[in-house]
């Protein structure tokens, strides 16, 4: 019986790779937000059709994605933590570091807003209000791009939330963290895309948005073949080029408009932006 299964599996595998000239697959390590929002599903089939490459998306936390790049376990990275990306570029682990797109973070929380975050002038004050009111706040706590940004904001606000009774760390992805915040009547920092996608099932509303410090910048980069000779050089070059070409940038600019009435991501290429983000960056 087991042998039969192996045979079947082998057949399926053979069937999948039985193209005319099989090209080596490209491993793209990226954050959960790009994958969960559906953006990659909207873009990658086009790329695969055009070039014949197969892209294997590994959607993980930014920390893990960058680690995969450093250890040569991926060909291309698409992440949103410039501070954490910098050492990789400087130490030469990645090359071809390119600005692809951005979106923004928003502060969400319970409708009644016990910390009066709505009244805040800027995001720093908003964070201070939460801390002062001792209102529950759920942090990702997973070294993801979102978590890194949140920590930077606390730092700017002059607050160390670690160990505070109102401060919780979920250690999970954005979706699970939003769910926990919703159940616990807590505030949290989220990327707009994930929030919009889950909005219907949450008891959370956007309480603060639009501060330039809430901008969420995505970069794409190739793993340096000089460090890791086994990377798929041709494929990764093609993939980076694909993300930067005007047609793709155009698609990014329109992705999600039909569902949410506004785009989830804004392309780096300014001339293709159809809608300006509500707060001018």
């Amino acid at each position: 019986m087991r042998r039969l299964w192996f045979l079947l599996l082998a057949l399926v595998l053979v069937g999948c790779t039985a193209g005319q000239k099989p090209k080596p697959p490209i491993i793209l390590a990226t954050t959960t937000s790009t994958y969960d929002s559906g953006l990659l599903d909207a873009l990658l089939p086009e790329f695969e059709r055009e070039t014949g490459y197969k892209v294997k998306v590994v959607a993980v936390g930014t920390g893990q994605a960058l680690r995969m790049g450093r250890e040569g376990n991926a060909d291309v990275l698409l992440t949103h933590a410039p501070e954490a990306e910098k050492p990789l570029v400087e130490e030469g682990w990645v090359v071809d570091y390119q600005y692809v797109m951005y979106n923004d973070f928003v502060l969400v929380g319970p409708e009644d807003d016990p910390a009066d975050v709505r009244q805040a002038k800027d995001v720093v004050e908003a964070m201070q209000r939460i801390a002062r009111a001792g209102a529950p706040f759920v942090s990702r706590g997973d070294d993801s791009g979102t978590h890194k940004r949140e920590r930077a904001l606390w730092k700017a606000a002059g607050i160390d939330p670690q160990g505070q009774p109102w401060y919780m760390e979920s250690g999970q992805g954005m979706g699970a963290t939003l769910r926990i915040a919703s159940e616990k009547d807590a505030y949290t920092l989220t990327d707009r895309g994930t929030y919009l996608a889950l909005q219907d099932t949450l008891n959370l509303v956007i309480l603060f948005e639009g501060d330039p410090r809430l901008r969420n910048i995505y970069h794409i980069m190739r793993v340096n073949p000089e460090k890791w000779p086994h990377v798929n050089v041709e494929g990764s070059r093609a993939l980076v080029a694909f993300f930067l070409k005007p047609e793709t940038q155009q698609r990014i600019a329109t992705f999600g408009v039909d569902r949410f009435g506004r785009p989830l991501f804004y392309p780096a290429l300014e001339q293709v932006r159809e809608v300006e983000p509500s707060p001018s960056p």
Binding site: A65, M68, S170, Q172, E183
Partner: protein, 234 residues
């Protein structure tokens, strides 16, 4: 290979340096999974005894159900418990979601069929003969069950061990109903998931080794007990 080695070294370091976070996670794991084990033993052992020795209508059906329960997927249990405990759910008013209580409930649901199933096998191994012999010596149903359970003490401990193994190694349900909240509902398995997501593979592995060590330690204690019980002289 290198990551594995570093994981081992880091595990030793974390343990020997008495890293308070790690110790607290380990102790919390023991507390939550231990509670779930005790609860599942309290439910599963009588259930197993009843399934074998009781007057059970459609016994074969219930036995099959128990054996299916031994393969319950944790994420399904997690989802069902979460749906019940979410504030929008029927038991939302208890405010148990994302608390250790919720984790104990989910792990108990997973471990109970395991405990009952192992108990069933242990009692069935004694055979119809032993039961008939007791009844044929004038034992009441209760007296016969009491002697048989004493005879199956080995199985009883094996059942508890299986229950603990299920509870402590499960991650899907704990993550869904516990929320992996730092210092509150974070246990070894969910911490392993988190550290992996963070890219701290060595630390993840270190936590994994600690989990293995914990499971080994608990099972070793139970095995010592079982060996003592298995001695026919006692």
């Amino acid at each position: 290979m290198e990551t594995l080695w570093r994981g081992l070294v880091e595990a030793l370091y974390l343990l020997l340096s008495l890293d308070p976070t790690v110790w607290r996670i380990a102790l919390r794991t023991l507390a939550i999974s231990g509670s779930a084990t005790v609860l599942s033993a309290l439910l599963g052992i009588p259930l197993g005894i009843w399934l074998v020795l009781g007057r059970v209508p459609a016994r074969r059906f219930w036995l099959t159900l128990t054996h299916t329960g031994m393969a319950l997927p944790p994420v399904v249990v997690g989802l069902m418990v979460a749906l019940l405990l979410w504030r929008t759910g029927p038991l939302g008013f208890l405010e148990w979601i994302y608390t250790p209580t919720a984790m104990v409930i989910a792990q108990t649901i997973l471990a109970t069929p395991m405990v009952a199933g192992v108990m069933v096998s242990g009692l069935q191994a004694l055979g119809q003969e032993a039961r008939w012999q007791l009844l044929g010596l004038g034992a009441s149903g209760f007296q016969a069950a009491w002697v048989l359970v004493q005879q199956a003490r080995g199985a009883l401990l094996a059942a508890v061990m299986a229950g603990f193994g299920t509870a402590v190694s499960e991650v899907g349900a704990s993550l869904m109903v516990g929320g992996n909240l730092k210092g509150y509902t974070r246990v070894l398995t969910t911490a392993v998931v988190l550290e992996t997501r963070r890219g701290n593979f060595a630390r993840a592995l270190a936590l994994g080794f600690i989990l293995l060590g914990l499971a080994f330690w608990v099972n070793a204690m139970l095995t010592v007990l079982q060996q003592r019980e298995a001695d026919p002289d006692s």
